[in-house]
């Protein structure tokens, strides 16, 4: 180590000791590493700015990490990504992470629109990053943010716990009155009935609908479009008995259930699996009224 470096490092240590006397060696190393990471990132950004791509997209990505110095305050980072035809927003995020900043954090897995883990707020709308073609987006810059109305854990990752709780609240499992006597015999379901529930069974639990819903944003107890759709899937399945259906309707017609829906269609609009969520909610409202009329 040269003399100058030695001096600098001595100074750093001295500063550290006076500023935070309780800092452990591990914490200090982590802090120093974070500082270096911020510096490296700045240098990389400068290098990238100097580099010209033939064709490129500009990604503006929301960043936040509650425990890393320089990232506790939410901000946007810009990444320049070389563009090729067929490229999706997820591809661009992966490129940014692997080439510029390995701390860039987002969920993704199947990258074929079935695992539902990469629902994000892209150019002001809830979408699955993996099935959003960059070529289909307007504007020069793509703005990528975490799903609105959800607690941000870090960068683009939101806490899904509340969403899962609402899904579980509707007792999301098949519960027929009786099964065929012969245990090797299937229950019969008409093609028409399967067709009726088909769209509702396509939900991949991505949370886009919940995030787009104004009502859910203001009412934390509202079951939300995904959970109500899940209830619809079972309530409309002819293989479940009438009693069970009434129990299901009781769940969805409670105070924070179907009647909260104001038919704004934003859930239906953003659903990446094209599930007619609003329609399903309306149908459950009708069923619920019919059901109650019987007892009046």
């Amino acid at each position: 180590m040269s003399t100058i470096e030695q001096q600098e490092s001595d100074e750093t240590e001295a500063e550290t000791e006076t500023e935070t006397a309780v800092e452990s060696p591990g914490d200090r190393r982590r802090r120093e590493k974070a500082e270096r990471a911020v510096e490296d990132e700045a240098r990389r950004e400068a290098e990238e700015a100097a580099h010209e791509f033939d064709e490129a997209v500009e990604l503006k990505v929301f960043r936040y990490d509650p425990e890393v110095q320089g990232k506790e305050e939410p901000r946007f980072d810009d990444f320049t990504v070389p563009f090729h035809k067929g490229m999706t927003v997820l591809d661009a995020l992966i490129y940014s992470r692997d080439h510029y900043d390995s701390s860039l954090t987002f969920r993704h897995s199947c990258r074929q629109a079935v695992c539902g883990s990469d629902a994000l707020f892209i150019n002001g709308r809830q979408r699955l990053a993996c099935k959003t073609q960059i070529a289909d987006l307007d504007g020069d810059t793509i703005r990528v943010e975490p799903l609105p109305h959800q607690e941000v854990v870090k960068d683009l990752v939101v806490d899904m716990e509340h969403f899962y709780e609402q899904m579980h609240a509707v007792e999301p499992y098949f519960d027929p009155d009786e099964l065929p006597d012969d245990e090797m015999e299937e229950q019969r379901q008409s093609r028409e009935n399967r067709e009726k529930i088909k769209m509702s069974t396509r939900c991949i639990w991505c949370g886009a609908c919940m995030s787009s819903c104004n009502i859910a944003a203001g009412d934390n107890e509202y079951l939300g479009p995904a959970a109500i759709n899940k209830a619809y899937r079972f309530a409309m399945d002819e293989r479940e008995g009438e009693n069970r259906k009434q129990e299901r309707l009781r769940i969805v017609e409670q105070e924070h259930g179907v009647w909260r829906c104001q038919t704004q269609f934003s859930c239906t609009e953003v659903c990446p699996k094209d599930i007619p969520l609003t329609e399903h909610i309306q149908e459950l409202k009708r069923e619920s009224v019919k059901n109650n009329l019987k007892f009046w």
């Binding site: 067929g86 390995s102 701390s103 074929q112 079935v114 073609q133 069974t201 991949i204």
Partner: protein, 608 residues
């Protein structure tokens, strides 16, 4: 520390089924998954579930097709048990509410699939896996089975006996992704590895990004041999730009493959005059690549899969999902134009050696699903056999781990099953990453379960700490170099020189991995750290695949070798086995079982 009777690692189809089965046996079960159950890759399965349900069909026929499809590398006891249990499992799934496609009489529909002598593939549109995954997760919710989601299991807690067959598994070490917390999970009765595929060892794969072979690598390092790892299935119809799968269902319904000259090449060039497009996946994959290599491919890369003639109504009824995939990921309207397809890595027939009850040679450690090798699929898995596999063997592993009285297995496992040593001489010493210190077995002669677990937790905490605190290179480059060399050199067509090159590249990757560190110092949702740990697993499984491919000097099923153009039954009806041996892979063989208590199978020549 968390404590349960049975810990299931991975919550895809096999994990969920295992958890339900163990729960039904009265065990306190926990599922530990690095994703959330509904995010598992089982959800991406499209085609269907094979089971002999209808009149005119029989489990014997299903077993026979499976053995023939395996090119006589499957073990008869596994295949027979599989075909016998499958119908009950599928009907049970139906009883759990699975939204199968329906016949006019209301029963679940079945359709023809490649290599099946009867249309016995039950399906739910072209999104069977999605419905299976959600239906089973619903049953897990119904039963109140505990799920630890977004907990990455990084290691097993195994005693450090010299002989793997004396070792015991007492639990797993989990890393909580949201917080960076490392904790032990004590399993009183058993640990079931159900971590799925290893497709991320390749750069063109249908597998999810999460499929990094974690289970295989962990079990391997704990002393359980890996079996038939060279047997990688390449699916003939994946979209060229992303690797997204176009289901075999398209060909099952009558889809046709064309080359650039618009020739129906499966017939015109005689690749499979009996079965055409519905020949086994390995046959179709080789045919497509041969077309491309002979200059009859489109844009020198792919061929066309055409389903337009099936008509809009039929496509929408049975293959609607395919339209969406082609549109979203390739910008092609399948109703209007043919879809571009090429072969891509799809499935690992090999994996963790286990018997037909899921048990490995390490006491208390089980495996099920794609990460396991019972061996059911041998050298080639038939379409529609993966989903019943995870049902049948997930259930059996779950029951066995929970202490149910299973009949004694016919398949023997562990080093004592060895019939002869292997003699592959790799061009470089494969070497180990931190051999010794990184071995799973504890190094303090610990045998008390809590001690073994504590020791393993401590070791993982230190490993995580050093990744976070040290400076080093990014894992991403190491990972992509391995993926590239695997796709380049260990693909559908294999040659000795290429395989040796791949081994050199993997070895170089291992060396660079020693300098890997995590740039992101955060304890909160550190995906940089997760991917870095996964990359280690990718290195281990890539090496095992390549060594197996180098060792097997014949052409069987999915494994084609330029130098050996024949299936060599006298010498090669045996499994390639790799043991960890302190980080240096040790190769040996064990015999294939062509006889079970029900059937005896006579190898027949494959005719196309």
């Amino acid at each position: 520390m968390y404590e349960h009777d049975v810990i299931v690692v991975g919550a895809g189809g096999a994990g969920l089924r295992a958890a339900i089965a163990a729960h039904e046996e009265g065990a306190d079960v926990a599922l530990v998954t690095k994703l959330h159950p509904v995010r598992s890759h089982t959800g991406a399965a499209e085609g269907g579930i094979n089971a002999a349900l209808r009149e005119g069909d029989d489990w014997d026929l299903h077993a026979y097709d499976t053995m023939k499809g395996s090119d006589y590398l499957g073990d008869a006891p596994a295949i027979d048990v599989f075909a016998q249990d499958a119908p009950e499992e599928v009907v049970q799934l139906e009883h759990w509410g699975m939204p199968f496609s329906r016949e006019d009489d209301g029963r679940a529909s079945q359709r023809p699939f490649g290599g099946m002598s009867f249309p016995r593939t039950t399906y739910a549109g072209a999104e069977t896996g999605h419905h299976l995954l959600h239906t089973m997760y619903e049953q897990v919710v119904k039963r109140g089975i505990e799920v630890y989601d977004e907990w990455y299991v990084t290691d097993l807690a195994v005693t450090d006996h010299e002989d793997p067959e004396d070792r015991e598994c007492h639990g797993v070490i989990g890393y909580e992704i949201a917080t960076g917390n490392v904790e032990g999970f004590r399993a009183n009765d058993g640990v079931i590895l159900a971590t799925g595929g290893l497709g991320q060892a390749f750069d063109h794969t249908t597998n999810a990004v999460a499929n990094t072979g974690d289970g295989c690598a962990m079990a391997y390092r704990a002393g359980v041999p890996l079996e038939d790892m060279e047997m990688i299935q390449f699916h003939p119809t994946t979209l060229p730009s992303t690797g997204v799968l176009i289901s075999e269902g398209v060909r099952g319904e009558g889809g046709i493959l064309y080359n650039d000259d618009e020739e129906r090449f499966m017939f015109e060039y005689g690749y499979a005059n009996n079965d055409g497009e519905l020949a086994s996946r390995d046959v179709v994959s080789r045919a497509e690549l041969t077309e491309v290599n002979n200059g009859r491919g489109i844009e020198d890369e792919y061929v066309h899969l055409d389903m337009r003639h099936l008509g809009e109504e039929r496509i929408l009824d049975r293959l609607e999902n395919i339209l969406h995939l082609a549109e979203d990921f390739e910008g092609v309207d399948g109703l209007d134009e043919p879809m571009p397809v090429k072969p891509g890595q799809h499935y690992a027939m090999g994996g963790i050696e286990c018997d037909e009850n899921g048990a490995t040679c390490v006491d208390g450690l089980y495996a099920a699903g794609e990460t396991a090798c019972v061996s059911l699929h041998g050298a080639n898995r038939l379409g529609g056999n993966a989903l019943p596999e995870l049902l049948v063997f997930g259930a059996r592993a779950g029951r066995h781990a929970a202490g149910a009285d299973m009949k004694e297995s016919e398949i023997s496992t562990g080093p004592s099953a060895q019939s002869e040593p292997g003699d592959v001489e790799p061009p470089v010493e494969p070497g180990a990453v931190d051999a010794g210190s990184d071995d799973v077995a504890a190094d303090g002669a610990a045998v008390e379960p809590d001690e073994v677990l504590e020791h393993a937790v401590q070791r993982e905490r230190e490993r995580v700490e050093s990744f976070l605190e040290e400076d080093g290179i990014n894992h991403a480059e190491v990972r992509s170099d391995v993926q590239e060399t695997m796709t380049e050199n260990v693909n559908v067509f294999r040659e000795e020189d290429n395989l040796r090159q791949a081994l050199r590249d993997i070895r170089a990757g291992r060396e660079r991995y020693q300098d890997v560190a995590v740039a992101d110092p955060s304890r909160t949702y550190n995906t940089d750290l997760i991917h870095t740990m996964e990359t280690r697993n990718i290195l281990d499984v890539a090496e095992a695949i390549t060594l197996g491919a180098l060792a097997r000097e014949e052409f069987r099923g999915a494994h084609w070798r330029a130098e050996f153009q024949e299936r060599r039954d006298e010498e090669w009806i045996k499994h390639t086995m790799l043991a960890w041996n302190d980080g240096t892979p040790e190769l040996y063989y064990k015999p294939v079982l062509l006889e079970s208590q029900w059937n005896e199978y006579e190898p027949k020549e494959r005719s196309y």
